[in-house]
């Protein structure tokens, strides 16, 4: 007898032992199905209940965290302003406007001394000469007032008031009030570099 026939015969004869009680099995299957459906519903209910409890107990806290994160204002950038006294230079070569009109374009240097006096050196060939007594400045809070060039470029214009930001080796000036256009242009058109 070939292998194929032996296997086929053995399986067919062996299968004869199977004679299930279909009615009983059907009843069992229906019971198992009911239990499976109930288990499934219980599981779904438990998950839903767990979610609901989580929302009730932890929802407000989570919302508070979200809201607090949403409404916390960003920290304002801290500006650590350096002191004004020091020596600075700027190159205004090619500058237009009042600087060119007054023929004071070129390399400038200025020193704000700690005693409130100002030493300045105009571009060579500008014809400007610093005279004594020296021009002065006076710090008031975050601004300073100065009579710089009051006896040369800014005769009759009075004093000017400026704010400043010194960051590293750079001094940036901003006119708060100044009627002297050329002084304003010299001081504010380009940041000054510390020397």
């Amino acid at each position: 007898m070939s292998l194929d026939k032996r296997v086929k015969d053995a399986l067919e004869r062996s299968s004869l032992i199977v004679d299930p009680d279909v009615r009983r099995d059907l009843s069992t299957v229906r019971q198992k199905t009911r239990r499976a459906v109930i288990r499934h519903r219980i599981a779904v209910t438990l998950v839903a209940a767990t979610l609901a409890v989580g929302v009730v107990f932890f929802g407000p806290g989570v919302l508070d965290v979200i809201r607090s994160q949403r409404h916390v204002p960003a920290n304002p950038p801290s500006v650590s302003n350096g002191p004004l006294p020091g020596s600075y230079r700027v190159d205004l070569t090619g500058a237009g406007g009042p600087v060119a009109a007054s023929s004071v374009d070129g390399a400038w240097s200025v020193t704000f001394n700690g005693d409130g006096s100002i030493v300045w050196n105009p571009p060579p060939g500008s014809g400007l000469i610093e005279s004594l007594p020296r021009d002065t400045y006076q710090v008031s809070g975050t601004t300073f007032s100065t009579n710089l060039f009051a006896r040369s470029l800014c005769q009759g214009a009075g004093i000017g008031t400026y704010g400043w930001v010194r960051s590293g080796g750079t001094l940036t000036l901003d006119a708060t009030r100044d009627d002297c256009a050329v002084r304003r242009a010299i001081l504010t058109s380009t940041p000054w570099q510390a020397t």
């Binding site: 292998l3 004869r13 032992i17 199977v18 279909v22 099995d25």
Partner: protein, 188 residues
């Protein structure tokens, strides 16, 4: 609706040829229709599962589980052309999975003697089949007992046809070794 079940055309010389005639007209989903399908298909499916597991209680339990799945999905499966093929495939896959779990637990070591044979059976063949892994057992039962071609075997086992061919080839070779027989030619 086109489903996998469409591809499971049982051959007319199968163990329960009249069942497909009944199941082919299955279009609604009442309890009575499920009960009718159950009465027709349960014994046939259980025979196949039993030939894989060689344990009556175990086979009955696995077959019941397959029909539980059928009942839970009855509204959908009832619309298939051959819901019987669907539940048969589920049962065979559950049986393969059960064998895999049992093998992992090494419970197959227990020698559940091949029961009480109502007719003289070739016990050596049954013992040899019990030495095979689940997929190979399923391939042997589907090929020899249900007379299914390789295409259907691969479909039921959820693998490619060449893979099913390998399962069957290895199973036959292993059986031949265990039984001291010759494997004449490969299956086609």
């Amino acid at each position: 609706m086109i489903t996998d079940a469409h591809r499971l055309d049982r051959r007319q010389d199968g163990p329960c040829p009249h069942a497909d005639v009944v199941l082919g007209a299955w279009v609604t989903s009442t309890d009575a229709e499920y009960d009718l399908l159950f009465s027709v298909e349960f014994p046939a499916v259980m025979r196949t599962v039993y030939l894989m597991l060689h344990d009556l209680e175990w086979a009955e339990d696995v077959t019941q589980d397959a029909f539980v799945q059928l009942l839970r999905h009855w509204k959908k499966v009832a619309r298939y052309d051959r819901p019987g093929a669907w539940v048969r495939r589920v049962a065979i896959r559950l049986a393969v999975e059960a064998l895999r779990r049992e093998r992992l637990r090494s419970l197959l070591e227990r020698e559940a003697e091949p029961a009480i044979w109502p007719q003289p059976a070739d016990v050596d063949v049954i013992r040899a089949i019990r030495e095979l892994p689940g997929m190979q057992r399923a391939a042997i039962v589907l090929f020899y007992f249900e007379d299914r071609p390789l295409a259907e075997i691969s479909d039921i086992l959820g693998c490619a046809e060449p893979t099913a061919r390998v399962h069957l080839h290895r199973a036959r070779k292993r059986l031949a070794d265990l039984l001291g027989e010759e494997v004449s030619e490969d299956v086609s």
